[in-house]
Symmetry: C2
Subunit: 318 residues, 2 copies
């Protein structure tokens, strides 16, 4: 089966770029002209913020989609603006799909089975109408991030979605400073807690239904760029899992830090950067005529840096 990993790898190879752009809009950082236009139309309202997000996102996508294979959207920033925010999220996703790029919804959902099913239906499936027929929800991503805390039955609905061509990235080792508090607790059987989670990812993703023709699984993992030793360990444990790697750029992760997350075939990781790309217009290095041109330059620089680091390590495919 051509699974989510296959689709992602095809785009990564076509664009020679193993990265994605995080569309995590913050209203304070959005260019004044976009905000002014939104306020002129909707007043100083929640709706105006959502409108500004959508305009900002569309222009960013149009300026970068010939460079990047996928976009990661952090649900929190949209949810904060309620129904208007979800509209902006849903329309942004449609726009990305029109440009034939992949959408990763970074929602980090996790719950007991029946509730997890509702989340999987919402974002990777279909929802039931009053007459019991089913249609796609308003927000359908190609893949989403999932919290593993509930164990197998909380993850199962997302694994089922993988069999229908979707992907899932299970949170294993996160990029934030406090991630060690619980994730690095040592286990009686040896190793640390996050390693047990990585083993689960490997196990959940090893079924024939989850594996693609590339050999990579539709069940991936989230591994932060900021802890290189742990990242290397995750790579060893879950060989067939694609690592979605946040924490590059703004949070301090560098190109050489993420190299250990790639396998020797030069695949196996997709590096995500948000603030450094989408707000690049604030950065002297990427000064340009428009914010989207700045973002484009930052995205190209990120690709060049990653390719250079992979070449240095002797594992670049291109």
């Amino acid at each position: 089966m051509r699974n989510f990993a296959d689709r992602l790898i095809e785009l990564v190879d076509a664009l020679e770029n193993p990265s994605c752009v995080g569309l995590d809009p913050r209203i304070a950082d959005i260019p004044a002209a976009i905000k002014a236009e939104a306020v002129a139309t909707c007043g100083n309202t929640l709706e105006a913020v959502a409108r500004a997000f959508l305009e900002f996102n569309k222009r960013l996508v149009d300026a970068t989609y010939d460079i990047v294979p996928a976009y990661k959207l952090q649900a929190a920033f949209y949810e904060a603006y309620g129904a208007h925010g979800l509209d902006a999220l849903g329309i942004t996703i449609s726009h990305i799909k029109k440009r034939r790029r992949l959408v990763i919804l970074d929602a980090k959902r996790g719950d007991i089975g029946s509730t997890a099913q509702a989340y999987a239906d919402a974002y990777l499936g279909t929802v039931e109408l009053c007459d019991r027929s089913r249609i796609s929800g308003f927000i359908v991503a190609d893949a989403m991030t999932v919290n593993p805390y509930f164990g197998y039955d909380g993850v199962k609905p997302f694994l089922d979605a993988c069999e229908r061509g979707h992907g899932v990235f299970i949170i294993v080792k996160t990029s934030n400073p406090s991630s060690k508090e619980l994730q690095s607790l040592r286990l009686a059987g040896g190793g640390e807690f996050y390693e047990a989670v990585a083993r689960k990812v490997s196990e959940w993703g090893a079924s024939e239904q989850a594996l693609g023709s590339s050999g990579y699984s539709a069940v991936g993992m989230v591994v932060g760029a900021t802890f290189p030793a742990e990242a290397k360990r995750c790579r060893e444990i879950a060989k067939n899992a694609i690592a979605l790697v946040p924490g590059y750029g703004y949070q301090g992760g560098r190109a050489e830090d993420v190299v250990p997350l790639f396998n020797n075939d030069g695949l196996g990781a997709i590096i995500s950067s948000s603030r450094r790309i989408i707000f690049a217009y604030k950065d002297e290095r990427f000064k340009a005529e428009s914010f989207e041109e700045s973002a484009r330059r930052a995205a190209m620089t990120m690709r060049e840096d990653l390719v250079a680091a992979l070449r240095d390590a002797g594992i670049c495919r291109w």
Copy 2:
């Protein structure tokens, strides 16, 4: 300070009921008359489902609010219907507040600090507009559930909200069958993983700002009703934390199973039931003229069962 726990305990004492009703609507289970009316107005659409949810919820709240101190709303079931679903969620919350009952948003969010802040702003705070002023978002709960996986910096924005009168329930031990897979891993230092999380809850909730005049913390924990031994252990570790206890009723938890989650003062737990209450009209025992009357009877029965079990244990306050 009069914190969230104080407000909750006041209502629990006033109604002599340590339980809450889970408003987790599933369209297949909603009475046909409500669906027909929604479809007549909006057609067979996502909007019709959201409209049916709202009507169903309002009638349930009006039929039960003189019995129950709080309502728990599972975000997943609303999110599934996108912007329309969030509208139904937000308006339901406003309706509950009009009836002076507490709202627990069961969203189980968890992320790195900056994203966790966006979630806390969205559901327990204020969000920024285009002109940098801030207003309440559309969906503001009294408390919400949070996933602990990210450690302190991922929880901090919710702890800050506790200082402003809100509450948080940290997921510790969940009610689902697979919860043992990761939560019960044995640690090198002794004990199981969920116990380490319970210790964190106790630590995070012990600050002067989090503790209320009742002695209970605004930082609570989620502990399923289905694992009594683990529930008892959580109670021992985090003495000042109020346990939000799902899994009662439909998932198999009984009144005697949840008694160990109460302290000797007869406080310290709030037992949640969803399907057994809101869809009680399908249950012969609660047959009545309307679905809301069935729900009312089921809610009264649940209160009686809990009070009887607390009396048997000699720790009933009323």
